[in-house]
């Protein structure tokens, strides 16, 4: 028996989008490869955090009060926090700002990927870069004798995800409102300021009093405290976790309001 409906048109194959998951994964893959292939981005996201870890653990030129913990156990969580900030904030702000200036955001928004898919791809790309960072920093730290509290590893992931959310949102706020050259300068400057005085590597509590009062409430200080609390003691410190969650929600809402695609 042949087809009972003759002259039925052939199924149209043109004009169909690839499945959403495939589109977003393709975009995430492109974002990840672009960052890891770019020399400056690789330097900021991977090389500097690893060198800082080795230098601070092995070097004796910086006096650090580790509160009884080994130097590597005390410093590794802070350097993971710093790495998260380089990938989700500095690197993402610069990449998005130049993509915005070059019209890449607009072009991809006209493909089946759309604006939502583009954002999802960017966030997944950041997480993929962070996976590379965590594996590398974790491996180097382990060689240096790092033994994180096993009970805290899963809790540390909560901090990692919240921190990624807050700093990616901040990256979008900056990249979606300022000129690309201004973003390039600001993203690097802000990273340096937060790294030194933001309670990331050195806990806010150990900073000079006026700086400490501010750093405790910054997303950088909160992220550092969450990662130290979980990986050193195996517990999620409630106040820093809430502070970080509040920044994630607040910066996310701000990014949604102020981000300009053009």
């Amino acid at each position: 028996m042949t087809d009972p409906t003759p002259a039925a048109p052939a199924p149209p194959t043109a004009g169909l989008a690839a499945p959403p998951v495939r589109r977003v994964l393709a975009q995430a893959g492109l974002e990840t490869r672009t960052i890891l292939r770019n020399g400056e981005q690789l330097l900021v996201t991977v090389v500097i955090p690893v060198l800082a870890l080795v230098g601070l653990v092995r070097g004796t030129f910086v006096e650090i009060d580790t509160a009884g913990a080994s130097r590597v156990d005390f410093l590794t969580p802070g350097l993971l926090a710093l790495a998260v900030m380089t990938a989700s904030f500095t690197s993402q702000a610069i990449a998005t700002a130049f993509d915005r200036r070059n019209g890449v955001l607009r072009l991809m928004a006209t493909t089946p990927l759309g604006r939502g898919g583009l954002l999802a791809g960017k966030v997944l790309g950041v997480l993929a870069v962070e996976l590379v960072q965590v594996v590398l920093i974790g491996a180097v730290a382990a060689l240096l004798g790092w033994r994180p509290d096993p009970a805290g590893v899963a809790l540390a992931l909560v901090g990692l995800v919240l921190g990624t959310g807050a700093f990616t949102a901040l990256a979008l706020v900056v990249a979606g409102t300022l000129r690309a050259e201004a973003v390039l300068a600001l993203a690097n400057l802000l990273l340096l300021v937060l790294a030194l005085g933001g309670g990331v590597v050195v806990p806010a509590a150990d900073l000079p009093a006026p700086v400490a009062a501010v750093a405790t409430w910054l997303p950088s200080g909160a992220l550092g405290d969450v990662l130290r609390g979980t990986l050193l003691d195996g517990t999620l410190p409630l106040v820093p976790a809430l502070v970080l969650a509040a920044w994630t929600v607040g910066l996310g809402a701000l990014a949604a309001r102020v981000f300009r695609w053009h």
Binding site: T13, G15, P19, L30, T34, G103, V104, R106, T110, T111
Partner: protein
């Protein structure tokens, strides 16, 4: 089902910070035709196509592409619409061929990227990152990206900008092929040659409004309202452009030529004779030049070009 055009824009208005860029614009583009939106810089061409692409929301008016609202029905429309932006929109740190392959992955049934790369000569710079490409190479890659999803409607914003003549011909060939396959092609341009060679339908735009539209032949035939139309119906309206080695007196030539012809001084050494230019006119002009001992460096005899129409409509002053 009633016939509906591929692109239908009615009364489009768009302002930026209180400055009206598009001011009640109408545009219709049919499937299987190349529609050129022709206008000077700042005429509102790019804003108009960006509203059709769903990149901007109109302040007023109605935009439909394949019967759908580009903003509200974006997800359904995007797989069927190809876009080439004026500023490229290609990621600068990615290799040319990787950009094309990446965008192809967004579609369920993309065109063959190998065939497309071959067709537009992308092979020579396939492994070069976008930031190192020349302007023409970027344009070719951007065109490939626009058509890789086998769209039914393609928007090309200034597609030939920065291209060498060979690349331009390859692009024009591809545009004609898309049209022959039934794709609606909408291109913006300020290149007369492009509109004249490529477009089935030309829409002349300035200050956010449509000044004239029709086929190239329609536009060439439509004389300025304040010009007397010379000769019988069907008489080609012609222009004789005379360039001379030194300045001559246009008014004197005008008197020598008699009625039915106008002489316009275009520059110190360039005159345009318009009207019923015939064999006699050419002899008269050269005789007049001989009498004044002036050598013509160039004589261009032809119909009005689209450029003449365009300049008549949009004005000759720089802005």
């Amino acid at each position: 089902m009633p016939h509906s055009p591929a692109v239908e824009v009615r009364g489009l208005v768009k302002s930026y910070d209180g400055r009206t860029v598009v001011d009640g614009l109408d545009l219709t583009a049919e499937a299987g035709r190349v529609t050129a939106v022709l206008g000077p810089n700042g005429a509102g061409k790019t804003t108009t196509v960006e509203c059709c692409e769903g990149l901007r929301s109109p302040d007023a008016g109605r935009v439909r592409v394949l019967g759908l609202d580009p903003v509200a029905d974006g997800a359904a429309l995007r797989p069927r619409v190809g876009v080439m932006l004026q500023d490229g929109g290609l990621p600068s740190g990615v290799r040319a061929r990787d950009v094309l392959d990446h965008v192809a992955r967004m579609y369920a049934h993309p065109a063959s990227t190998d065939a497309l790369a071959d067709r537009l000569g992308l092979g020579a710079f396939a492994r070069t990152t976008v930031r190192r490409l020349s302007g023409g190479q970027r344009q070719r890659l951007a065109l490939a990206v626009a058509v890789v999803g086998r769209p039914r409607v393609v928007f090309l914003d200034e597609p030939s900008a920065g291209m060498d003549p060979q690349a331009r011909l390859a692009v024009w060939d591809l545009v004609r092929e898309l049209r022959d396959e039934g794709v609606a092609v909408i291109l913006t341009t300020h290149l007369m040659e492009e509109a004249e060679d490529l477009a089935d339908h030309v829409v002349v735009v300035d200050h956010g409004r449509v000044l004239a539209e029709g086929t190239v032949a329609d536009l060439l035939a439509g004389a300025r309202a304040d010009d007397a139309r010379p000769g019988a119906p069907g008489d080609p309206r012609t222009t004789l452009v005379v360039r001379t080695e030194r300045p001559v007196d246009a008014a004197d030539l005008r008197r020598a030529l008699g009625d039915g012809l106008a002489v316009e001084q275009r520059s110190a050494t360039s005159l345009a004779v318009t009207g019923a230019v015939g064999p006699r006119t050419l002899a008269d002009v050269t005789a007049w030049l001989a009498a004044h001992d002036v050598l013509a460096t160039r004589l261009d005899l032809g119909r009005r070009t689209l450029e003449d129409v365009f300049l008549d409509l949009t004005g000759r002053t720089l802005r």
